[in-house]
């Protein structure tokens, strides 16, 4: 299962979307098992660097999938890919468990919330294409830019900590991140 997915093929990604939809619509346990087998090791990798306590890591993984099971009906394949949605849930779970505090978020139902402008039709059809291009842009980044992004995302490190860990100036970290985001943006420019 994971060997197929490691190729990052668009078909495999769409399959992940379908698994989430199956969990949402009919609490499909086989779909849940497949999703777990594909993503649990990745989520473990995402939170498990830095030699953290393995019980805590396992707790975050299990809690992440309990939330996935309970919230699957909130997944909207038009808005995000399965991996992006899982990233957000794993990130929130990690903050809740490791920091024991909340991560404040806006509330789209609040009367003060300023809604998005109407999405254009071409933006809606291009999500799969966007995800494909993003993956390509990530794989083409120079290794020093990939490294700062990985540290920022996987180890939940603020810029200053990344700089300290790599023994490079904060300005260098910021410029590498800016370059990486700039490349990704230019790859996606005509899509967003």
């Amino acid at each position: 299962m994971s060997a197929i997915f490691a190729k990052n093929s668009d078909g495999a990604k769409r399959q992940m979307d379908h698994l989430l939809t199956a969990i949402a619509e009919r609490k499909d346990k086989d779909a849940f098992r497949q999703l777990f087998e594909t993503f649990a090791p990745r989520i473990r990798g995402f939170i498990g660097r830095q030699g953290q306590d393995s019980d805590m890591i396992e707790e975050v993984v299990q809690e992440t999938f309990i939330r996935v099971w309970n919230k699957a009906q909130l997944f909207d394949p038009e808005k995000a890919s399965a991996s992006t949605w899982l990233f957000a849930i794993a990130r929130n779970t990690r903050v809740d468990i490791f920091r024991k505090s909340g991560r404040p978020t806006p509330d789209a139902n609040d009367p003060t919330f300023v809604p998005d402008p109407e999405p254009s039709a071409d933006r809606l059809v291009s999500r799969a294409e966007e995800s494909h291009r993003l993956q390509k842009a990530l794989s083409l980044l120079p290794s020093d830019q990939q490294e700062v992004l990985r540290l920022a995302y996987f180890e939940e490190k603020a810029h200053a900590q990344v700089a300290e860990d790599l023994g490079i100036p904060l300005g260098t970290v910021k410029s590498r991140i800016r370059l990486a985001l700039g490349r990704i943006r230019s790859e996606l420019r005509d899509l967003r």
Partner: protein, 220 residues
């Protein structure tokens, strides 16, 4: 209404990865409630997170933990409770957006303000964050923000009225990121009192407050 001053990409990235502390995150999340453009950037940053997760080559495990997960799921009941009702403004549409309004516990008209001197008021917002302080400030129209000193970063998000300094004019939804190098003397714009959310990573010291505390002791 347009927003001209946005959080830096670094701040948005730290918010996306979960590295940003709770107090700072209140300012970013409240800006996001008012700014579709920055929400779009967050969407891109989360997609990058998803892309990085996809790119991980996971090690094979004998026991992947799925059976343990199922056991937990079968024991657990769905705990998705209805959220607590949000504090409502007495006068129609609230001024303070979520998530800020829930942190304060009320809208702007019922804030338990404490006097800062020179007509300015503040209200400390309780958070679980030990490294940074969140507070609401209310600066009378046309008056300067009380002089204060801080180390490190200060985030200021305007919620009502406006203030201006050497770097520009800041209205509702605008967010200023200032470090200790920025020398500025912000003034509230004429018209409305300026209400803003200020986050600082060190105890913020208002000189007028210190002076008022010392005054009776010095017997002057």
């Amino acid at each position: 209404m347009s927003i001209y001053h946005h959080p830096s990409e670094e701040l948005l990235l730290d918010y996306t990865t979960g590295a940003l502390g709770e107090a700072w995150s209140i300012a970013v999340a409240t800006h996001l409630a008012l700014c579709p453009g920055c929400r779009n950037t967050i969407g891109l940053l989360e997609e990058i997170g998803g892309g990085l997760i996809n790119a991980i080559q996971p090690p094979a495990l004998d026991d992947n933990g799925f059976d343990a997960l199922l056991t937990r799921l079968e024991k657990a009941t769905d705990v998705t409770a209805d959220p607590a009702p949000l504090p409502r403004s007495a006068k129609g549409k609230p001024v303070l957006p979520e998530p800020l309004r829930s942190y304060v516990g009320c809208d702007v008209d019922e804030v338990p303000w404490k006097r800062l001197g020179k007509g300015a008021y503040q209200c400390i917002i309780p958070t679980g964050d030990k490294d940074a302080t969140a507070r609401l400030l209310c600066i009378p129209a046309g008056r300067p923000v009380p002089e204060h000193s801080h180390r490190g970063l200060e985030l200021t998000l305007v919620l009502r009225g406006a203030f201006s300094d050497e770097t520009g004019v800041y209205g509702r939804g605008d967010l200023q990121e200032a470090d200790q190098d920025l020398l500025h003397q912000p003034h509230a714009a004429p018209g409305n009192d300026c209400v803003c959310l200020a986050i600082t990573d060190a105890p913020l010291r208002f000189r007028s407050l210190a002076a008022r505390l010392v005054q009776p002791w010095l017997n002057i």
